[in-house]
């Protein structure tokens, strides 16, 4: 049943010109307007920042193994978790799936030759790099100690670090995502192949669309907010600082107006990936396609009106808190719906347990826990105790690391053969997935208990509460396993570049348009623009036939001019 064996007619794939090998000069990469090359640029740079954020995380975890700290001064520790948070949120989570896999796959999935604005796309990457560079510079020049949330008046009036520089970096990186979002929206509206109606679009495309809407509406707000912090810090204009006549809590409103939806910027793309993976490896149409598509939009919309649940104890009125809490409970429902729909998709499927599917199953488990623990925080009376403790840290890591990161890895393993034309070792990939899953739970589950026990986030001394130590040690041990799980893919994926078997057009026997073109695709994605006549995930046609046969059918179809 191995789908990885090379078929004769594709053996010359290696020499066929494709987007990777059309040109080898550095310049050709740095000035490329090919969405696929830009995706590769993002993949490399985002991985680099992830590594930095991960290093900071390991320092934090090491420090916390002892109630009195292991090696860091308070000041350094604060800079460390700020670096970790800022890098992970703004330079990894927000751009990760959209900028790499959205960029790479979205145009192909709707049968387009490229994004609507290829030059803007390249500009986005440069903005990302400039923003990232400035943030890095701020960190290297002495660091920032505000946390990634930059709460005022601490950030504008008291912090000693290079806050303004970091803020400018975040601001610029923000424009990178705004442009990417605009590009996706325009592309989905204007570039769909003939026959690709809205309801024939793959759910990943729907998810990217909803995400883009959030990005375009939300990011300007955080950009302005941070700009105001910079104005206050450099020019002393009173906006947030009461000492200058400003309102300290105003910042929180403006910040969370973006940053809560931002959580969905991080998780919706991942949900989109799940729909692709689960449909493909269950060889079945997604159950309740319309529900899943609309729940993305519902989440995007509702996500904008729950920001106050980060501020239940900030002194906002009780009535405000009640409203924000209510909407937060409601927003949980579309996520639950998606989960049930994925389950129903697997049911009576023809499940192929290869590594991307393992990542998808891992995602399901972690996401469910992450989502449900969100209810403890949306619930007013429990939030009063849990807010800003390690319970929150555990919750958002379940969503962001368990959800977004699993989605990222799943996407990487799913589209890797398409991106590179090579198959990696599926067994190693499964080991990687298992390490991530086990390490993850060991790291973050104890943090729920720590939070309940009252350990505040952003603490590194806890000698007054030695009963927290055991859980901290568990968590740190888990982090080492998790780190191993993250590093492993770097090895077998890079190994596959040289030694991997050729992937062929469609190693998974998937039905999306991106699988009808060669791997790696040539510069224009398709030789002829495909004409779409079926809904997405039309596995029904192939349901009764054996897996191998299905692949033959699709391969032939693809060769016949991609007019499926």
């Amino acid at each position: 049943m191995s789908a990885t064996a090379a078929r004769p007619e594709e053996l010359d794939d290696a020499t066929r010109p494709n987007y990777l090998n059309v040109s080898h000069t550095i310049k050709s990469w740095l000035l490329t307007q090919d969405h696929k090359r830009i995706a590769v640029l993002y993949l490399v740079s985002i991985s680099f920042f992830f590594l930095l954020g991960g290093l900071a995380a390991s320092m934090i975890r090491l420090e916390l193994t002892s109630p009195r700290g292991v090696m860091l001064e308070s000041e350094t520790y604060n800079k460390m978790f700020s670096a970790h948070g800022i890098i992970m949120v703004f330079l990894f989570l927000v751009p990760s799936i959209p900028a790499t896999f959205g960029n790479f796959a979205l145009p192909m999935m709707i049968g387009a030759k490229d994004l609507a604005f290829p030059r803007l796309n390249l500009l986005s990457w440069y903005l990302y790099m400039i923003g990232g560079g400035l943030i890095l510079a701020a960190l290297l020049m002495g660091g920032v100690d505000t946390g990634w949330t930059f709460y005022t008046p601490y950030s504008s009036m008291y912090s000693s670090g290079h806050v303004v520089l970091a803020i400018v970096g975040v601001f610029i990186a923000g424009f990178s995502s705004i442009f990417t979002g605009l590009n996706f929206i325009a592309t989905v509206h204007k570039m769909r192949a003939p026959g690709m109606t809205w309801f024939r679009m793959p759910l990943f495309v729907w998810a990217m669309y909803a995400t883009s809407v959030i990005i375009v509406l939300g990011t300007p707000v955080v950009a302005i907010t941070l700009a105001l912090v910079a104005v206050e810090a450099t020019m002393g204009v009173g906006i947030f600082s009461p000492a200058l006549g400003g309102d300290p809590v105003l910042f929180q409103h403006m910040f969370w107006f973006y940053s809560h939806p931002a959580v969905y910027i991080m998780i919706l793309p991942s949900m989109g990936v799940m729909s692709e993976l689960i449909a493909c490896f269950s060889r079945k149409r997604i159950f309740g396609y319309h529900f899943v598509a609309f729940s993305s939009l519902a989440i995007a919309g509702l996500g904008f009106i729950v920001w106050g649940h980060h501020m239940f104890t900030s002194g906002q009125s009780t009535f405000q808190s009640l409203v924000f809490s209510l909407i937060s409970f409601v927003v949980a429902v579309p996520s639950a719906v998606k989960t049930f729909n994925w389950m129903a998709t697997i049911y009576k499927g023809n499940v192929d347990l290869r590594s991307p599917m393992i990542f998808a199953l891992g995602f399901l488990g972690l996401f469910v826990v992450g989502g449900l623990t969100g209810l403890y925080l949306a619930s007013l009376a429990t939030d009063v105790h849990l807010q800003a403790t390690y319970f929150v840290v555990a919750h958002f890591h379940y969503i962001m690391v368990g959800g977004a990161m699993m989605g990222f890895l799943g996407a990487l393993h799913y589209w890797w053969p398409k991106m590179t034309g090579k198959m990696y070792s599926d067994n190693w990939a499964k080991i990687g997935a298992a390490l991530v899953f086990v390490g993850f739970n060991l790291t973050f589950f104890p943090q729920f208990i720590l939070g309940y026990l009252g350990m505040p986030r952003r603490y590194h001394y806890y000698d007054f509460a030695p009963q927290w130590q055991a859980y901290n040690i568990m968590s740190s041990a888990g982090a080492s396993v998790l780190a191993l799980g993250y590093i492993l893919p770097a090895f077998y994926l890079l190994h596959s570049l040289k030694y991997g078997k050729p992937a062929g057009r469609n190693p998974w026997g998937a039905v999306g348009l991106e699988w009808q073109t060669e791997s790696p695709p040539d510069t224009h994605n398709f030789h002829e623009i495909p004409i779409v006549t079926h809904e997405a995930y039309d596995y029904a046609a192939v349901d009764e036939i054996e897996h191998a046969q299905a692949q033959e059918v699709m391969k032939k179809e693809a060769h016949m001019g991609s007019d499926e």
Binding site: M1, S74, N78, D145, T146, P153, Y154, M157, Y158, S159, P242, A243, P248, V249, S282, R283, G288, Y289, T313, S314, T318, S325, L326, F329, V330, A332, V333, A336, F340, M343, I346, Y347, K348, G349, V351, D352, L361, V368, V369, L372, T373, L375, Y376, S379, L380, A381, V384, H385, Q387, A388, Y452, G454, P456, Y461, Y462, Q469, A470, Y471, A540, D543
Partner: protein
């Protein structure tokens, strides 16, 4: 060497209710997550490609089913919301007879002041079984006053009074933590609540506290000293004069402002009028009152407010302005 506690001691009236709700949520979490995980694995293995199982009539759409799994979670969510909201509303409404204590947060310390003038740092003595209301403000950045054993916290914000109330149910010592990141020594901004038998507490209070030298003046008296020192009565008499509105009977009243709005004269308003007088002007007056922002500490503002609150119930004093009575409290700031 290690122990694995699962929850902190429950030492306030709210703690038990919190833990019950926490338990309900945990049961719901388990009910919704464990079956999902188990079923995901069962489905994935049972319907593995190649397994001969019944795959006939796979469905792709089933409105009834989808409505079911939309509506049931929605109803459960609303039920939990309702219960939780009720607890929260109670938690935000201090009982009328609550004992009031004042908290001032600053990098990186908690100052406490009791109405009788006793102050403490990083310690808060309270009686068991008595509702206690904290009125809190920060001198610099945002902090949060958090007592895990009481399952409650609230942000301590500059320029704004926030409130927190609790009723301790057990004698003992519990943690006070700062739970809003506030800079370098955030992790060391910790203290303890000391819950005592009411008689012990009264004795402690009467002795002027253990940790700080007794102040023989209550907050109201200190406020009165300040009132005299700054000659407030020059402008604020027992009746409104062209120089300033009277403060007698002001607390709790609605005041008409120049811009037509009315404002409830609560602690927040009194503080603002004191520190930034020109921000809200009482109808009929112009901004002649100085802003005392630079001169008065948050603690002194609290003392003045405490004194002003008594003006409604006290007999108007003669509008005398005795020569500088006392120097402003040196205070252990």
């Amino acid at each position: 060497m290690f122990n694995f506690p699962l929850r902190p001691e429950a030492a306030s009236t709210f703690a038990g209710q919190h833990d019950l709700l926490f338990g309900i949520l945990t049961v719901l979490t388990i009910v919704f997550s464990v079956p999902v995980m188990i079923l995901a694995i069962i489905f994935a293995v049972r319907f593995r490609a190649g397994n001969k199982v019944d795959r006939s009539r796979p469905s792709h759409e089933n409105l009834k089913l989808e409505l079911t799994w939309t509506i049931i979670p929605l109803l459960l969510a609303l039920a939990v919301f309702g219960y939780s909201a009720k607890l929260f509303v109670d938690l935000r409404k201090p009982p009328k007879d609550a004992m009031e204590i004042f908290v001032i947060g600053k990098q990186w310390m908690w100052h406490i002041q009791h109405p009788n003038g006793v102050r403490e740092n990083n310690e808060l003595h309270v009686p068991v079984g008595v509702p206690v209301k904290l009125t809190m403000i920060s001198q610099d950045v945002i902090h949060a006053f958090y007592i895990p054993e009481f399952r409650t916290q609230y942000m301590v914000v500059p320029d704004k009074y926030t409130q927190l109330w609790f009723q301790a149910t057990k004698e003992g010592e519990y943690m006070i933590l700062c739970n809003q990141y506030c800079g370098t020594q955030h992790s060391e901004m910790v203290g303890k609540v000391i819950v005592q038998r009411p008689d012990e507490f009264q004795k402690w209070l009467a002795d002027g506290g253990r940790s700080m030298r007794p102040k023989d003046r209550t907050m109201v008296e200190s406020g009165e000293d300040l009132y005299k020192l700054y000659n407030c009565a020059n402008c604020h008499g027992d009746v409104d004069t062209p120089r300033g509105p009277s403060l007698y009977g002001l607390f709790g009243k609605r005041q008409q402002m120049t811009d037509g709005t009315t404002v409830l004269a609560d602690d927040e308003y009194l503080r603002e009028s004191l520190l930034k007088a020109e921000k809200k002007l009482v109808a009929g007056y112009i901004a002649t009152m100085p802003n005392y922002e630079q001169e008065l500490s948050e603690e002194q503002a609290l003392q003045l407010i405490a004194y002003m609150k008594t003006l409604g119930v006290q007999k108007p004093a003669a509008p005398a302005a005795p020569a500088a009575a006392t120097t402003p409290q040196e205070g252990n700031r």
